[in-house]
């Protein structure tokens, strides 16, 4: 943890995540299955089931859940959030679980590190590429007459702040 992190911020962020867990309202879930029935991932990947995930939260099986790779296999289509009759939103519960898992240093897909590094290095997860044309050859932004990409003016300050917040989330 960087030394200049405001302790208040750490506490606040950790409190916010705890609050989010409480706000999941998983305990009021009727286990109706409306979320899972239209979930594109449930259809495709065995073991991913937003309904069962909520049931586990309701039964207090958090440790088991945070270590479960399934929480990283959500397409964020938001159908579950849109339709949950009890307004529980498995999508939002999954986001909180992912945050908690990351905080706890548990397994998460490696791609996320690339994203984060990209943001910290240049402000964006990716750099402009040369794009293949259908008929052959490669085209750059410049070649197409598109303006150059400008990231944060002061990358140092930007990086410091973002890193601090991510680290603070990871804290204690």
């Amino acid at each position: 943890m960087s030394s200049d992190v405001d302790q208040r911020e750490v506490e606040f962020i950790s409190l916010m995540l705890q609050k989010s867990v409480g706000e999941m309202h998983a305990e009021v879930c009727d286990q109706c299955g409306k979320c899972s029935s239209a979930c594109p991932v449930s259809k495709e990947i065995e073991g991913f089931n937003p309904r069962q995930l909520i049931a586990r939260v309701a039964l207090g099986k958090m440790d088991e859940l945070l270590a479960d790779e399934a929480i990283w296999t959500c397409t964020t289509c938001l159908k579950c959030r849109e339709r949950c009759p009890e307004e529980i939103s498995p999508y939002d519960v999954i986001l909180v679980l992912r945050n908690l898992a990351y905080r706890a240093g548990l397994n998460y897909p490696g791609g996320y590190d690339d994203f984060i590094n990209g943001i910290l290095e240049r402000g964006f997860i990716s750099e402009p590429q040369e794009v293949r044309a259908r008929g052959g050859g490669k085209l750059s932004r410049g070649a197409l007459g598109l303006p150059g990409v400008k990231g944060p003016k002061d990358m140092g300050v930007f990086r410091g702040i973002v890193e601090k917040i991510i680290e603070a989330g990871k804290g204690n």
Binding site: E27, V28, Q31, R51, Q52, A55, R56, A58, L59
Partner: protein
């Protein structure tokens, strides 16, 4: 009737409903050719005030003593035409109707000639029967303005108080030494968590203070004879038995809780109790240090030997689970259920309340019920949580079984005594499941509360008032006109076999002192089952005599 039949036939056009397809003038002309028909006329609408006036005029002008209307359905219109006959001084049972609309013009719209022919056939049949019709009487009986209520629980007391407030005397019979029934055992009642004793207090006070309600404690009903308005009930207590005359009877004998011996470790594993026992512990404050509880629903219900759902247990469990959480929010409470029977607004609210307090609901399968065994320190519950697709093992301090309500063991005796039926489960069975929920098929006897089926207090109270309304109706009138269309036994033909007694759904037939069938006209509904089943053809129905039906039948197949 000694005088010669003089029949008038009125054929209705019903606008174009009949007239558009049936040649009405032709039917009128044809009617005049039928035996004993002295008058016939067409009407635009026989049922209009103009049409009814014409019937009355014709009765007078042509000295008619039988009337046939060929129009629509007797279901809606027969009483109207009968009324016209009565106003003209005739007995209403000399009236006969032919339905040439619903059963003729409407179904033969595309074949008017055949429709006309069929209308003639129907009129011919009606006339054939009308020739033989005789006037009938509707005798009246007196109704004794006293009710008998069997059962002194919340239903029985509510019914008794309502009858009293309607102005009747009541005999209230309770087998125990105090009033209150099942509510004496309970702690609080959902959905308001009112104390059961608070519910009982005003009822018991009301019943005990009323001079019009005679309470018979430690008593049972030994015998009930007679029929609506004129029952004679024998009430037996330690002091002996006494006879009372009552007009109506309300059965409110309640139900029992199943003793779930052998189910889910009950009486085998330490720390397994019933929901009722939990309530008593909570009421007495003797629950002790209980940190975790597992409730098991359907403990003895919705299974092959007891297929019905006991209706109240899920909400009761939600109530008790919430109360346990309120006492100590750290308590871990599981409810293992099959289908949660919390319904309607208030009971669904009980469910949310429990969930929001953190009560954990786990669904189990009928095919894989929870198993409760003795652990090192208390019971161990293993349950296949089908919604999670995994087995959970819980080690609670207490297992609470939601055992169903079961029929009162006295139901059998009482049902034989009152000659009212029980259903397959052993609860009392009403006359019609939808429209006569508190009546028995037998007039003058009613049912309410858990004697009928498991139900909660509010529903028992509504039903008890419903039964009191139904029982109050004949008593308020004081006299009752009984049906004219009843069965008549020809004692010369009756062999005393008793088939009719067996078949009668209304207990209208008994054996007389000579062992022959005897019809209590006041109770008979005129359904005809006895007549149809009598091997000696000793029973006929008034207004539907064999001769009348035979004549009508023969007329159907042969031209006059």
């Amino acid at each position: 009737m000694s005088e010669e039949p003089r029949i008038g036939v009125f054929v209705c056009h019903c606008g174009i409903n009949i007239g558009g397809y049936v040649d009405v003038p032709e039917v009128v002309k044809y009617s005049m050719t039928l035996p004993d028909v002295v008058y016939a006329e067409p009407n635009l609408y026989t049922c209009s005030s103009d049409g009814l006036q014409k019937i009355k005029e014709a009765i007078e002008n042509h000295r008619l003593n039988r009337v046939v209307v060929a129009s629509c359905t007797p279901r809606t219109h027969e009483p109207l035409f009968q009324g016209a006959c009565e106003e003209a001084g005739l007995n209403k049972y000399i009236f006969e109707m032919a339905n040439i609309r619903d059963q003729c013009s409407w179904v033969h719209m595309h074949e008017p000639e055949k429709a006309t022919q069929k209308a003639k056939d129907l009129v011919r049949m009606a006339v054939a029967k009308a020739r033989l019709l005789t006037p009938e009487e509707e005798p009246e009986i007196d109704i004794h303005p006293t009710g008998l209520v069997i059962g002194g629980g919340v239903s029985g007391m509510t019914a008794a108080l309502s009858l009293m407030n309607q102005g009747f005397k009541v005999h209230l019979v309770e087998k125990e030494d105090k009033l209150g029934g099942a509510l004496n055992e309970l702690g609080t009642l959902f959905p308001t968590n009112v104390k059961a004793s608070e519910v009982l207090k005003p009822l018991i006070n009301g019943v005990e203070e009323s001079p019009d309600i005679v309470v018979h404690l430690n008593s049972t009903v030994k015998e009930v004879k007679g029929f609506i308005g004129n029952f004679e009930a024998e009430i037996e207590s330690k002091e002996g038995s006494e006879l009372f005359e009552v007009g109506t009877v309300i059965v409110a004998t309640g139900a029992d809780y199943l003793d779930p011996v052998g189910l889910f470790g009950y009486s085998e594993v330490q720390g397994v109790v019933t929901q009722l026992e939990l309530e008593q512990k909570m009421k007495e404050g003797s629950l002790g240090d209980v940190k975790s509880v597992v409730m098991v629903q359907c403990a003895g219900s919705r299974i092959e030997e007891r297929p019905y759902c006991s209706r109240i247990c899920c909400t009761e469990a939600m109530k008790n689970a919430s109360l346990l959480k309120e006492e100590d929010s750290d308590r871990d409470i599981y409810v293992l259920y099959r289908d949660l029977q919390t319904y309607g607004i208030e009971y669904t609210e009980m469910e949310w309340d429990a969930k929001r307090k953190g009560v954990k609901l786990v669904k189990y399968d009928k095919a894989r019920p929870p198993v409760v065994t003795e652990g090192e320190r208390g019971p161990v519950v293993k349950v296949w949580a089908s919604l999670l697709n995994e087995e959970l093992t819980i080690k609670p301090d207490l297992v609470v079984l939601s055992a169903p309500l079961v029929p009162n063991p006295d139901n059998k005796t009482l049902s034989q005594l009152l000659k009212v039926p029980l259903n397959r489960d052993g609860f009392f069975m009403e006359a019609h499941v939808k429209l006569r929920p508190v009546d028995f098929a037998t007039d003058g006897i009613f049912v309410c509360g858990t004697a009928h089926s498991p139900k909660e207090v509010a529903e028992s109270i509504s039903q008890a008032k419903g039964a009191a309304s139904r029982a109050g109706i004949p008593m308020a009138k004081g006299r009752l006109k009984t049906a004219a269309i009843t069965s008549v036994v020809d004692e010369d033909k009756c062999c005393g076999c008793g088939t009719c007694i067996e078949m009668c759904a209304y207990n209208a037939i008994t054996k007389n002192e000579r062992g022959l069938a005897q019809v209590t006209a006041a109770v008979c509904k005129g359904c005809g089952v006895c007549g149809a089943s009598c091997p000696e053809r000793a029973i006929t129905m008034r207004h539907f005599t064999d001769e009348e039906l035979e004549a009508q039948g023969l007329a159907a197949i042969k031209e006059a």
